[in-house]
Amino acid sequence: MLDIKIIKKLTNFDLDIEFKSDKKLIAVVGKSGSGKTTFLRCFGGFEKCSGSIKVDNKEWIKLSPQKRDFGIVFQNYGLFPNMSVYENLKFVENNPQKIDKLLKLMELENLKNIYPHKLSGGEKQRVALSRALMTNPRVLLLDEPFSALDYKLKQKLYEEIELIKQNFDIHIILISHDKSEVFRLADEIIEIENGKIINISYPSYKIAKLIDKKQMLIEVNGEIYKVE
């Protein structure tokens, strides 16, 4: 259960995000500069914020990032360049069984000795996801995971996130600037603007019309959206 109230003074507006949720995947959606990245950084403890962050009744707000029970996949993945795929995971915990299981789940077994600079964007993301899961976190933070991916990789990431939802007892907070990207996955969508929540919805979508192999129109809560 997440019980969040994050407050932070920013240059142009004050961030004030408050919500409670027991959903598995919560998407925080907003335009660039709406405060969603600051929200994520406050959640992870990378920026000092006031308010309250309660995860399963445990208060995090005053804890350092190391003491918060979360994993994060950054927009640029944040893989350690001096470590191979395997070593990036081993750095978290020297547990070959656990590492092999995650590498298998994310289809990375053949890449375990490769260094990050030789991986594609999609591969880097899968490594970052696996590494974030190594600590068995209670919350997984995904910062704009779809932004740099093409159609094919987006579809793959949808499947991977579904896989994580099914295999791990975890809350996922996904940050995105594009609402249409998150319909397929999100159990709850929180829309923010100028640091405030403007809408919370619980999407249930149905396909309204197939445009071609890559695009379709879907109906979400009575509204029509074009998605890939």
Binding site: P65, F74, G78, F80, P81, N82, V92, R131
Partner: protein, 213 residues
């Protein structure tokens, strides 16, 4: 000229001085640069100016103050004295590359490490240091080379005592003063080649390290 008759002691003193100066500077500058990179207080600008002072300060000015200070603790005209002087004089050449590398280091990697429950020390050891190898290497080699070429401060603080404080650059000065141009030429040639090699090696190794990181 019979090369076996040439006294290479000043080079040995120079290398000994450069070796200890470099090691001590690395041990001092690494944690200091790490702390400074995260310091956002009001004294930051003041401290940055203070740490860079030896770059612009005339060696005679620094040498004069050090001579007065070291004389009070009986370290003037000794190897210990020129070692302290060298550490202060070469400080920015080790500190600046390290500070710059840590300040410009991808903060995402540091935050990723924290999110994986790693302490600040573990993050420094396993994430930051291996990824700033080019800057560490540059700092070490430039500080070493700069100490080898030191003249003004060492002359003021240590004088020219054979086998103790007479470094190669002071030997060149002495030979020139006594019109012994053969030895002055030879010593100068050795230092010229050495300095060039240092820069060449720094560039070559940094090029290789940068390809990987």
């Amino acid at each position: 000229m019979d090369i076996t008759l040439i006294d290479f002691t000043p080079f040995i003193v120079s290398f000994k001085l450069a070796f200890f100066t470099t090691i001590i500077l690395f041990v001092i500058c690494l944690p200091l640069a790490y702390v400074m990179s995260g310091y956002k207080g009001k004294f930051k600008v003041f401290l940055e100016a203070l740490f860079s002072l030896p770059i612009v300060l005339p060696p005679t000015v620094l040498g004069y103050y050090l001579l007065i200070s070291l004389n009070k603790i009986d370290l003037a005209f000794s190897f210990g004295g020129i070692l302290i002087a060298s550490i202060i004089y070469s400080f920015p050449f080790m500190f600046q590359p390290l500070l710059s590398a840590i300040e410009n280091f991808d903060k995402t990697l540091i935050e990723a490490s924290y999110s994986l429950k790693k302490t600040k020390l573990q993050t420094l050891r396993y994430v930051i240091l291996p990824n700033i190898k080019p800057a560490i290497f540059t700092g070490i080699v430039i500080a070493f080379g700069h100490t080898i070429g030191e003249f003004g401060v060492v002359l003021m603080v240590g004088g020219s005592i054979d086998g103790v404080t007479k470094v190669a650059s002071i030997a060149i000065y002495d030979y020139s003063e006594t019109l012994d141009y053969n030895l002055a030429n030879l010593y100068s040639g050795i230092l010229l080649v050495f300095s060039f090699l240092i820069l060449l090696v720094v560039n070559l190794i940094n090029k290789r390290l940068n390809v990987r990181y």
